[in-house]
């Protein structure tokens, strides 16, 4: 059992939790993830490590409440415990030696883009953050990003926050303004990462994406998280989650991500019913 030290809602659908897991905190690096099971009968779900504190022995996770298991997780309060918490899993992001980087975050993906931006800032890189949300009330980590960015572009789909438009609009404007990036790092919905990659391919800029396929064990024993990268099958949990975005088959990843959509819709409704105490 792993105690929840802090729980903070970041917006109506996104929650930050700080979890006591000293062994995980001792080894965690940006880009790695954990697998969590809120209760004894819960599903195993992967969440990227948003932050860690080796001294305090804690790991921060930030999750969007999108379905049954994230609802279960969100039912738990500070002082309570999650049943299982495994990590750090996957390979750490390779950030050493980068001088000028555009970090692109979309929606809750910003929770993962932020520690990357922060680490790059610590390493002395010039960081341009480009963050996008559907609307103002979904914005997370605004001050945090500002604190670690040389430049920050704020985008929203409906224009209620920053500029109206997509992150790709802002990225293209920055590139056209003459910014030469060693690398673009994109973290967010698959469709966003796909279009960021299409754009940077045109300009020949190396682009790394953090993939988020369906996972079960997270240790390489099932291949549920497999992706095609450069024509080769890779397991995101052990070979990734970071990959060269220009090599990833995004359409396939999007199809695979929808495997259990019907089941998930049902599970979410069941969880909502539970919350509303309308259990049959």
């Amino acid at each position: 059992m792993f105690r929840i030290a802090e729980k903070t809602p970041l917006n109506p659908t996104v929650t930050k939790m700080v979890i006591e897991a000293p062994l995980v905190a001792k080894k965690a690096q940006p880009g790695q993830f954990i697998i969590v099971r809120p209760f004894e009968d819960s599903e195993r779900i992967p969440l990227t490590i948003a932050d860690f504190d080796r001294q305090a022995g804690t790991i921060t996770i930030i999750f969007q409440i999108v379905g049954g298991t994230t609802m279960e997780l969100n039912q738990l309060e500070a002082g309570q415990s999650v049943h299982d918490f495994v990590g750090p899993l996957g390979r750490a992001s390779e950030l050493e030696g980068l001088k000028k980087v555009a970090v692109v975050g979309g929606g809750v993906g910003c929770a993962i883009a932020y520690p990357t931006a922060k680490r790059l800032h610590e390493l002395g890189a010039e960081v341009h953050s480009i963050v996008g949300f559907r609307s103002k009330d979904l914005v997370i980590l605004e001050q945090e990003f500002e604190a670690v960015s040389h430049h920050m572009a704020k985008m929203s789909d409906d224009g209620t926050w920053g500029e109206k438009g997509l992150v790709t609009n802002a990225l293209e404007a920055l590139i056209q303004a003459g910014n030469q990036y060693d690398e673009v790092i994109a973290i967010g919905p698959l469709i966003m990462m796909k279009f960021v990659c299409k754009l940077t391919e045109k300009y020949g800029i190396k682009t790394t994406v953090s993939m988020n396929p369906i996972m079960i064990d997270g240790t390489g024993m099932c291949g549920g998280c497999r992706l095609t990268v450069g024509g080769v099958t890779k397991f995101a949990c052990v070979d990734g989650p970071d990959f060269d975005g220009h090599q990833v088959d995004f359409d396939e990843a999007m199809h695979r991500g929808s495997t259990y959509r019907e089941f998930e819709t049902h599970a979410r409704e069941a969880s909502c019913n539970l919350l509303n105490k309308e259990v049959q």
Binding site: L23, K27, T69, P88, I216, T219, G220, M221, R226, V238
Partner: protein
């Protein structure tokens, strides 16, 4: 001998669920002997002086001695004989391929059927579980610490043996439950999970500490275990859990599973139970590619989840199927369709990216290859399509690279298996032993247990002589 020998040439049959009933539920297929049946079967044992059966048992159980106790209706006495050699008798009695091991060497098998050693082992272990509630006495600690990586059959066996010798044993397990393939791989209908849990609880009662959610190689390394954690020896029993795929087009379509994923969802995550939080596809037509025990398990699970047609697709013939004969027969009785001499070449998808079928070619058997098995050769112009909505790849697994990539100086071979020095399981690192599938590649539960036993003895000798 006190009793009359039962000269029946045939084994006492074991009651089991009817095929058309059991293929709709996950309850155990084989129901086990009654005490009467067990005593009668035990009386078929000739109590040979040279005990050929014992030499066929990888953990060296004194088989005539335990069977003799059963014949005398001293079931607890029989259990004591079993547990002197085996940490998991209720498991082995169910899943060992006895026909190639103990029963394969039984003298009664020459002119009739061998003694039902596995069934008797199972009976005795079940009888003990149902009738004896004593907790085992914790052995006197000897002051030495040993770490075991992986709570599968090999790690559990080594832990049991070492704990009985007084070692403080800690098992590190990556998943949230101990048991390895016994909990995520072998289905409930062959091996009820409550039985596995009971055997694991027995180890805990002996003082074995099991730390779950610990991925060694990520959260801790072997060097840390032997350094700051103070373990004098480590036994690597991390298995061979990395699935292989065929590398044919369409393998990433929705509806293509590795057998490991399919079985893990069903067994470990209980996706077969209504209301499970972990989803699984409920398919109509399923093809399982491969012919081993894992393929049989996956096919029989698919049938139980309601699939109307389930195929085993295997590139060699019925004779060459690597699965146990009994498993193949059970699968056939339950309505699994065998498409042998068939090899998939492409998975076909619909516009939504879901499997709609697979293209196969027919095969014929050519000359024997290096392994002595006749090599399948493609028949020209034999491509055909099989309509399926789910495909389960069960063509083997190899060891996970996590341990070898984080343990400097640990020698592995080109298949990724850890190299050990003969029987005792010593690796290229002092104090580090390995066994089970991590060394051999995917094999059987009982061979993994045998390796765990040998490694425990070697670790004991190593620490005593240090």
């Amino acid at each position: 001998m006190a009793h009359q020998i039962n000269m029946d040439p045939c084994k006492c049959p074991m009651p089991s669920q009817e095929p058309q009933v059991r293929n709709h539920n996950f309850d155990e297929v084989a129901l086990g002997y009654t005490a009467e049946m067990a005593v009668s079967e035990a009386k078929r044992c000739l109590n040979c002086k040279n005990k050929p059966c014992q030499t066929g048992c990888p953990v060296g159980i004194d088989i005539p001695a335990f069977i003799g106790k059963v014949a005398e209706e001293d079931f607890e006495g029989a259990y004591q004989v079993l547990s002197a050699s085996s940490a998991l008798p209720a498991v082995c009695g169910r899943v060992c391929p006895q026909e190639n091991q103990c029963e394969g060497k039984c003298v009664r098998g020459i002119k009739g059927e061998s003694v039902g050693i596995g069934r008797l082992e199972r009976f005795v272990a079940d009888w003990h579980r149902e009738h004896v509630t004593d907790t085992p006495v914790k052995p006197q600690p000897n002051g030495h610490k040993v770490a075991i990586i992986g709570a599968g059959p090999s790690g559990l066996t080594a832990a049991g043996d070492l704990a009985k010798l007084g070692y403080a044993v800690t098992i590190y397990e990556a998943l949230h439950l101990a048991g390895g393939v016994l909990v995520y791989g072998i289905p409930e209908f062959r091996l009820p999970k409550a039985i596995v849990q009971h055997e694991i609880d027995g180890l805990k009662a002996l003082g074995v500490d099991i730390e779950t959610n610990m991925v060694i190689g990520k959260v801790l390394t072997i060097d840390e275990l032997m350094g700051e954690y103070g373990f004098e020896a480590v036994y690597i029993a991390s298995g061979a859990g990395l699935p292989r795929f065929m590398g044919i087009p369409g393998e990433s379509l929705k509806g293509v599973y590795s057998a490991n994923e399919y079985l893990t969802r069903i067994n470990l995550m209980k996706a077969y139970q209504p209301g499970s939080k972990t989803p699984i596809m409920h398919s109509h037509k399923v093809a399982v590619v491969g012919g081993g025990n894992v393929a049989m398990d996956a096919a029989r699970c698919a049938k139980r989840l309601g699939a109307e047609e389930v195929y085993i697709v295997y590139r060699r013939g019925m004779e060459e199927l690597p699965a146990r004969k009994e498993e193949v027969e059970h699968a056939q009785e339950e309505g699994i369709i065998f498409k042998t001499l068939t090899n998939p070449v492409e998975v076909l998808g619909d516009e939504d990216g879901r499997v709609r079928g697979m293209a196969c070619i027919e095969m014929e058997l050519g000359e024997p290859d290096a392994s002595g098995r006749r090599r399948p050769v493609e028949k020209p112009d034999s491509r055909f399509e099989l309509e399926v909505d789910t495909m389960i790849m069960s063509i083997g697994t190899s060891p996970n690279p996590l341990i070898r990539s984080t343990t400097p100086g640990l020698e592995t071979n080109r298949h990724g298996c850890i190299v050990t020095n003969g029987d005792d399981g010593l690796t290229s690192r002092e104090g580090v032993y390995a066994g089970g599938d991590a060394v051999t590649g995917a094999a059987t539960v009982i061979l993994a247990m045998g390796a765990g036993k040998q490694a425990a003895a070697a670790i004991h000798a190593y620490i005593q002589n240090k």
